[in-house]
């Protein structure tokens, strides 16, 4: 008689585990699809929110990049006593002498002047429009352009002609340039020669009606003090120029000058958008939780329905561990299926929305990897209890209680 010896229980090969773990999915497709749906929705929501937010940030940053980050603005601040101060008339000329400065443009607000479509409009209905005197190179400094007509020229700057900011044109009800088109500006007619595209770096220009400096002085009583100086510098010298701008613009009162970098504000704005996402991420997490409960529910039913299969496997030599890993793997597979579909849906909706908006499609790694990872985790947690139940079932009970 041969010596009694017993083979050790074998671990399942990964391919075999995959095969038996997918039995439930393959034989009950509709049920598997429905229970994976909850997780798919949750993951899709999270991936889409993260994807859209980073795509929109990326879009905004790309736009900022296009606009250039080397623009600085100089505006009058307040004196120590809290009174408004004026920039010296010479300020733009002084700034232009700073070495790395490549371009200096200026605007001057005409605070007492209002603009109307016609003299018949009541004086109160100013439409919150500003009238500004503008220098001739302003558009290139702001990296914007004329949408219709033309901008102020050296010849036109002394005449009663005006160029409308994008929003200003809309509010005045002017959507095109026609010969003889005019507006009632400071109690006289100004001819409209152009409409601008939006200027993201200087939103105030959008709400403004621009006239030439000489015309402002001749017709509107403008004193000639710039209220905003737009300064383009060499890109690697922005900080250095930033440091000396105030003292250069107003040597007598550097504290009364504010210097800012409009692109920095836009970057901050891009970052701030993320705050809204938390709500949607929360909703996604709730959907995931509901999905997890669904998977756990389905797995418990599955274990009950498949008692005879469990019994058979035990009779064929499966250990409790084999049964446990089978059902755990099935739950994980189910959740992973949902997760993969969810990532697909999330990326797809990001792609559709981003391309509609003209943004670059950016789905952060953390979104899709996190989506799949959380699906696996959810499957493991949801499948644990059913798997333990299946493994605990005694083979005789499982086989003979059908």
């Amino acid at each position: 008689m041969t010596a009694p010896e017993i083979a050790l229980p074998r671990r399942l090969r990964l391919s075999d585990l995959g095969r038996i773990a997918s039995v439930g999915l393959r034989t009950r497709k509709l049920r598997a699809a429905l229970s994976a749906l909850g997780i798919a929705i949750g993951v899709a929501a999270i991936v889409a929110v993260l994807g859209l937010s980073s795509s929109s940030s990326a879009g905004l940053l790309a736009e900022i990049d296009k606009l250039g980050t080397n623009l600085l603005t100089v505006t009058p601040g307040q004196s120590l006593l809290g009174q408004a101060v004026q920039l010296p008339i010479a300020a733009p000329g002084m700034i232009a002498r700073i070495g790395p400065v490549t371009q200096v443009e200026e605007t001057g607000s005409l605070t007492k002047v209002n603009v109307y479509r016609s003299p018949l409009i009541p004086a109160d209905e100013t439409n919150a429009l500003a009238v500004q005197a503008a220098s001739l190179g302003l558009l290139s400094a702001l990296r914007t352009s004329v949408a219709q007509g033309r901008y102020l020229s050296a010849a036109a700057a002394g005449e009663p002609v005006a160029v409308l900011g994008a929003a200003a044109a809309q509010r005045l009800g002017i959507d095109g340039i026609f010969s003889g088109e005019r507006i009632w500006l400071g109690n006289q007619w100004f001819y409209v020669v152009g409409i601008l595209n939006p200027a993201p770096l200087a939103p105030i220009i959008d709400n403004s009606v621009l006239v030439g400096f000489p015309a402002a002085e001749r017709y509107l009583g403008f004193g000639g003090h710039a209220t905003t100086v737009y300064v383009r510098t060499q890109t690697d010298q922005v900080d250095a120029v930033h440091g000396v701008l105030a003292a250069t613009a107003s040597p007598e009162d550097p504290g009364g000058v504010d210097v800012s970098q409009p692109s920095a504000a836009l970057v901050a704005q891009a970052d701030a958008q993320d705050a809204f996402n938390n709500l949607f991420l929360g909703l996604g997490a709730v959907a995931l939780l509901v999905g997890a409960v669904g998977v756990a529910n389905i797995m418990i039913i599955s274990v009950l329905e498949r008692r005879s299969e469990i019994g058979l496997r035990r009779a064929l030599g499966a250990t409790r561990g084999h049964i446990r890993i089978q059902f755990l793997a099935e739950a994980i597979l189910l959740a992973l299926l949902g997760g993969a579909v969810g990532v697909g849906l999330g990326v797809l909706s990001t792609a559709v929305y981003a391309s509609a908006k003209g943004w670059a499609i950016a789905v952060p790694t953390v979104a899709w990897a996190g989506g799949l990872g959380s699906a696996i985790l959810i499957g493991a947690v949801a499948g644990l209890l059913p798997a333990l139940r299946a493994a605990r079932m005694s083979p005789t009970e499982a086989l003979w209680s059908v």
Partner: protein
């Protein structure tokens, strides 16, 4: 008789086994059961329902443990083994055949049979190779790619038998293998068992059907948890003595 026992290996030794289910009042399902199954035997365990034969099957198949007494399978004391070792024992040394077949409908016959080796650590290619051989033994080699749903009941039971045989177990335990089949089909399954017996496979058939039991070379009759008779048919005894592993005289069979 003594010569017989010396010349053959015991595959399954059941000694003074009792099984009591802890209910109120406790149910004594088995009460002092002892017998030995030797290599190459074809044995029927017969008894009415409630006689304890299913409990005995559980215990023989290591799916359940006796309350007292010992069970030795191929010389191994079952009580000394851990649960996972018992699983390994079932994977390599015991083949089960069930009344309800328990085939997986989504798999081909080949893979159903191959699953008999799943937990014994064989690769899928090896499992399929052996499954093909086992299907040939039960006469279904040509239908290896069919699904169980395309088969008749008798054919399904043949597949289940092939699954039990695929690992060349020391013993095959069949629980009412003809219980779900009409009598003609049942006869063909019994004929298959005869054929396997001739090839030297050790088989125990649990049945409540006296007619089934009477065909078998050895019958163990049970009633109320006791063995009431253990008879070996004289004609078949000659087979066993002459060739424990292989039947040389099939013509002498009744």
């Amino acid at each position: 008789m003594t010569t017989l026992q010396i010349s053959t290996q015991p595959v399954l030794e059941v000694d003074a086994v009792t099984k009591t289910y802890p209910s109120q009042p406790p149910i004594q399902a088995l009460n002092g059961i002892s017998f030995t199954i030797t290599k190459g035997e074809l044995v029927a365990i017969v008894g009415p329902s409630g006689s304890g034969k299913t409990t005995l099957l559980h215990i023989m198949g290591t799916l359940d443990l006796p309350s007292t007494g010992t069970v030795r399978l191929t010389g191994l004391d079952v009580a000394a083994l851990a649960d996972r070792d018992l699983a390994a024992l079932r994977a390599t040394r015991i083949g089960f055949v069930f009344q309800q077949f328990f085939l997986a409908e989504h798999q081909s016959l080949l893979d159903n049979v191959g699953d008999g080796l799943l937990y014994a650590g064989f690769s899928q290619a090896k499992r399929r190779e052996q499954a093909r051989e086992a299907l040939r033994l039960v006469g279904l080699a040509s239908r290896a790619t069919a699904r169980p749903t395309q088969l008749s009941g008798g054919q399904r039971q043949r597949v289940a038998i092939a699954r039990a045989l695929v690992g060349q177990p020391a013993i095959v335990l069949a629980d009412e293998p003809t219980g779900n089949l009409d009598s003609t089909t049942g006869q063909s399954i019994l004929a298959l068992f005869d054929e396997l017996h001739d090839r030297g496979v050790t088989i125990v058939i649990i049945t409540h059907d006296q007619h089934v039991a009477e065909r078998m070379p050895r019958q163990i009759a049970m009633l109320d948890g006791h063995i009431v008779a253990d008879t070996i048919r004289a004609s078949s005894l000659r087979d066993q003595v002459s060739s424990p592993g292989q039947a040389l005289l099939p013509g002498t069979r009744p």
